[in-house]
Structure formats: C-alpha cells, structure tokens
C-alpha cells in the first residue's frame, strides 16, 4: 500500500488542458440549442465498434489516460446505450454490424448525438464499400460530427467531442 501511495505521489498530476472546439468538424445539420442547454458539458458516451481494425479503439482508450483525463471534463463512457447522450462509432459499418448499430442508436434516449470517428467511419476508409462493408457510418445512422484520422489522435477525438458540447456558445444558448 505504501509503495502504491508513494508512486501516486511521485507521478503527481499529469493531465493537460483540453483542445479548443472546431466548428469545421460539424456536419451540415445544426445542433439544437436546447440539447446543449440540457447537458452543458456533462456527457455520457456509448462507443460502438461497427467494424473497425481496432486502431481507433486504441486512441479512444487513450482519452481515459491521465494525460487527457476525459472524466475530469465531466465526460464518461457508459456501458449501456440507455445511459448515453452520444454514440461514438468507429469503422466502416460492416454488414454484420449494421443491425446491432441501428439497434444501439434506437436504444438511446432523445436527445442524442452521433460522432463518426476515423477515416473509415467518415468515408469508409481503405475498406470502402463491398459485399461485407456498408462504408461510412452516415449511411446507416445520422451523424452530427466527423473526426477523420487513421487512427484519429486523442486530441482530435477530444476536439470532436468538445465541438458537440460547446454548441451552446455557437448557437447563442
């Protein structure tokens, strides 16, 4: 126990300041003012891998490390879509995951948002469209924000998430 406490003391706090939101990441549809008003900056995220290579998942995991400290910003990953405000989707949507993705989206309470993360989620990436892949997430469920990258870095993911929750400022809410 002493060694554990000493290690915690030795390392201290390494968390860094979050990035600024970037309205350019937003897709055409306007985010409703009241959504931002209801949630403020507290957000529950349900992540769904709809067919990724697992590279995006590595960087999404990194959001929870002490440097990015996502929970410190009031944002956390939840286990059930019933508890989620935001669906964070990776991968080209494989045909085998299409139903599961739609059901997850439908299980979320309103109001809800969707971020498509990674080149594959944005445009199908190197896998594209085929007998096995539907391509971009937006082809299967409505998407609010896209975060490109292969894989997208944690700061890019964080910027995408904060772009959503800062909608209040942009829309005058």
């Amino acid at each position: 126990m002493l060694k554990t406490l000493m290690q915690i003391g030795r390392v201290g706090v390494v968390s860094e300041a979050p990035p600024a939101p970037d309205p350019a990441l937003r897709l055409a549809q306007a985010l409703r003012k009241e959504i931002a008003r209801v949630f403020g900056r507290a957000l529950a995220i349900r992540q769904v891998d709809a067919g990724s290579c697992n590279g995006c998942e590595l960087e999404i995991h990194a959001l929870n490390n002490p440097y990015y400290n996502l929970e410190g910003l009031g944002i956390k990953f939840v286990a059930s879509p019933r508890h989620a405000d935001l669906l964070l989707v990776t991968g080209p949507v494989s045909r085998h995951m299409e139903i599961a993705l739609k059901r997850t989206y439908e299980a979320m309470p309103e109001p809800k948002w969707v971020i498509a993360a990674g080149d594959c989620g944005c445009n199908g990436g190197i896998f594209g469209e085929s007998y096995a892949s539907r391509g971009p997430v937006a082809r299967v469920i409505p998407v609010d924000v896209q975060v490109p990258g292969c894989p997208p870095e944690p700061l890019a993911l964080l910027r995408g998430i904060l772009t959503l929750v800062s909608a209040a400022a942009d829309t005058g809410g």
Partner: protein
Amino acid sequence: MVSSAARFSPLPGAVPAGLTDLEAGELRAFCERRRAEGASLMALWASDERDRVGGFRLHLAFLDDRGLQVARVALAESAPEYPDLSDLFPAAARMQRAASDLTGVRALGGDPRPWLRHAAWPADWFPLRRDAPAPAPREPQPEVYDFVAVAGDGVHEIPVGPVHAGIIEPGHFRFSVVGEKVLRLEERLGYTHKGIEKRFESLSLTEGARLAARVSGDSAAAYAWAYCMALESLCRVAPPPRALWLRALLVERERIANHLGDLGALGNDAGFAFGLAQFSRLKEQVLRANHAAFGARYPFDYIVPGGVARDLDEAQWQTLWTQLLPLQDEARRLRAIYDDHGGLQDRFTGCGRISPELAVRLGLVGLAARASGQTRDLRCDFPCAPYDRLAVNRITHLGGDVAARVAVRFDELFESLRLCRAILEHLPDGAVRAELPPAATDRPGCGAVEGWRGPVLVALEAGPDGRIRRCHPHDPSWQNWPALEYAVIGNIVPDFPLINKSFNLSYSGHDR
C-alpha cells in the same frame, strides 16, 4: 518412411519456408504424418484457380522445426471438397468453415455451420470466387445461428454482444451457466468481417501494405512487416539492413505499447484502477515518442515494400533512446506493486487456466502459448535480420492462468526494452529502402513475424500486372479464440472479463 518435411521445396525469403503440392487423396495421410512429426497448423485457406490451373486449391501452412511449410492441394471444380482435418488439428475447424464461406471449398464431415458468413450474403454466393457477380442488394437481416444447447437442472444461458459494455470490438459470447459457474462458452465471431481478402485483389502489390497494416490495428507493424516480407520474397529482394533494424524497432515498440496497455487493463479488471492509470500513462509516453520519431503515434504506414518510409534522424534517435531506461525503471516499480498486491494476485492466480497439455492439443500460439509452457517464438526459432544478431531471450511460464499471462507480458516487456536499446545502439548506417524488381507470378510468397500477440502470417500471390492475385493474412487469434472457450470452463461469470483480457485476442484480425 520419409519425413513429410523432406518433400517441401524451398521458397526464397527472410523466414525459412517450403512449398509442396499434394493430391487430394493423400491429404489425410499427409496431415497425420505432419501431426506425428510435431508440426503445428498455422493457417488454412482456399483459392479459386479455375482461370489458371483449373479447379480450386486448399492451402495449409504448417510450422515445424525447419520453418514454415506450405502444402497446396488441387481440388476438382466439380467437387471442391477434402476430408475434415479438425480431429488432427483442432484449430482447423473454424478455418475450414471460413474457407467454405468465402470460396465454397468444403471439408467433408466437418462442422457444417457457417463461421464468417452471417446473414449479409446468401449461402450459395462466394465472395472469393473470381466469377462471383456483384451480390444483389440485401436488406440487413438478423442471423439465426445454431448454438450448442446445454441441458440440465438449473442451466441457463447468458447472451453477451455483439455490442459489449466497454470500448471493445464486437463479438457474441453465449454462456451456459449454473448459478455463477460457467459450464460452457460458445463464441460467435465474424461481426467485423469487412471483406479484406477480396479488397486485396483490387489493389496493387505496393498498395497492399497499407491494407495489411489495417487487418488488426494493434498489430499494424507486425502485419505490414509480414506482408512486405511476402512481397520481397516474390521479388527476391532484401531491404537494406538499416530498414530491417528499424522495422524490428517498430515491432518491438508495438509489443511494448500493447503489453503496457494490457497490464494496466488487467489490473483494472481485477479492481485495481491504479494499475490502469499508471500503465496507460507509460503507454502514452511510448506513443508520443512514436509521434516524434516515426511521424505518428500509430505509424501504420511506416513499414513499406522494400524498407521503411523514412529514416530516423539524430534528434529522433535521441528521443527514443532517452525514453528506454526511465520506462524500464517505472515498469519495474509497478511490477513490484503488482507482485506484492494480495488482492490482485488472488484474482490472477489459478484463474482461466490452460494446461500445457491442452495448449499442445489445441495448437495454442504466441503469448498465450508461452504462458502455458510452450516455447515457440519466431524471433528465437527462425531469427531473420536483425533478430539473428540480437539473441532474443525466450520467455516461458508454466502456470497457464491469468497470472502466467501477466508474467509473460512483464518479462516480454523488459526483453523488448532491452532489444530496443540494442537496436538503437547497433543500428547500421545506409539506405532505408530498396527498389522492388518485378514480382514472380508462378509461386506464392510468405511472410511471418512474431507480433505481440503471436505469429502473424501473410501468404501472397501476384498477378501478371503488378496486382495482387490472392492475399491471405492470418492472425494468431484464430488459434487462441477456441482456447478461451476452454479457459473459462468452471470459472465464475464475473471472472470472464479478466480471463478474456488476459488473452486480449483480435476480432478484426480474425474476422478480416
């Protein structure tokens, strides 16, 4: 009787490899001899040869004391069938089903259920047949799959997935339990199948490296290297020494990053969040140094056909060098904390055990096999450059439980840190990329790399115009997923996440 290994004729390349052609009628007897000789089945796949030599081909890649041995079996177009091999090599069972789903080449007497195919395309349509017409548009429909039912008083089923309660890849687990105790686990995978093998056939040989790196993102360097090794075998070219050393540096750093991540997650799954915070901090430091030295935290496209994409300059070398000793000190300190933590050891020890005997029978590979007393490690058994100069220490533990898989990760982490130091210290000078001569089209090329999870195999055939004719990437998860079903028997349901994480198998690499 002549050893079955003697009939293989050598293929050029960085790993010792051989090739032989078999008649369908001699396949069973051949496989029986291979098993008796201690060879393990590394991969099994099929190809459509109707446009070339006629009929179909079944390919089997074995690993034995001489290296990688590929056997090809010609199958008639009218009856593309062969006898079931899963009694000899249990790992063949799912590979046979996958080959059937993708090419229609069937194992007679094997499990008739589909494996990679769910309901997305019809059972009589085969994506890897060269004359397969584009499939008719199909509304997504739920799959009906014939799970094995367990009967008995008080037995009930717990279905989990494909969407899991965390940041995890999708797959379905069907538990049959009594109370808290798991009687049986049946896996249903294939959810992330995205047609990678078919996609390869629309790419040039050079472009293929990018797709190979994305078969399983956590093993991108191992896959890219294995793919390039296969292509360089077809081209009979060896990258410059400096490029090979830089490739090994990246693969060892990939091993370090994944082991750090897993060690933290294993602590967390046993209720010790401190472990996750500490190890994920160290992993982040490794990724940031990657960004400084290789241009990206996950430099998927750094390993390219003929070498690597760019050289390391002095400042970048320095970034990597100065990181190694402090990282080793920190990891040692954390290992002491893990080792001394009674609650953690209580969860790890005896949990999810695969005995050495079972590991042999199931054909377990890689990290999980080495935690169950097995010793195979491509870096030690068939050391290609630069491993032939680095004398990699073989890591083995006997326990076969979560504790042993944790111990293998710690030992391999320190060994990889040592290797990174040695690589940086002795990095040869010179060019980092060679020109590729035209690729041979009359033989396959093979590449095999010991990734962090286990041996990654890529088998590649070139078409006449610099295109890919057929590419089969094989993930070590194929061998180890079935072992997870055994590891959980008799354990309690709440220990499953811990056991699962201790294997940390790839869904994407498996589903392709």
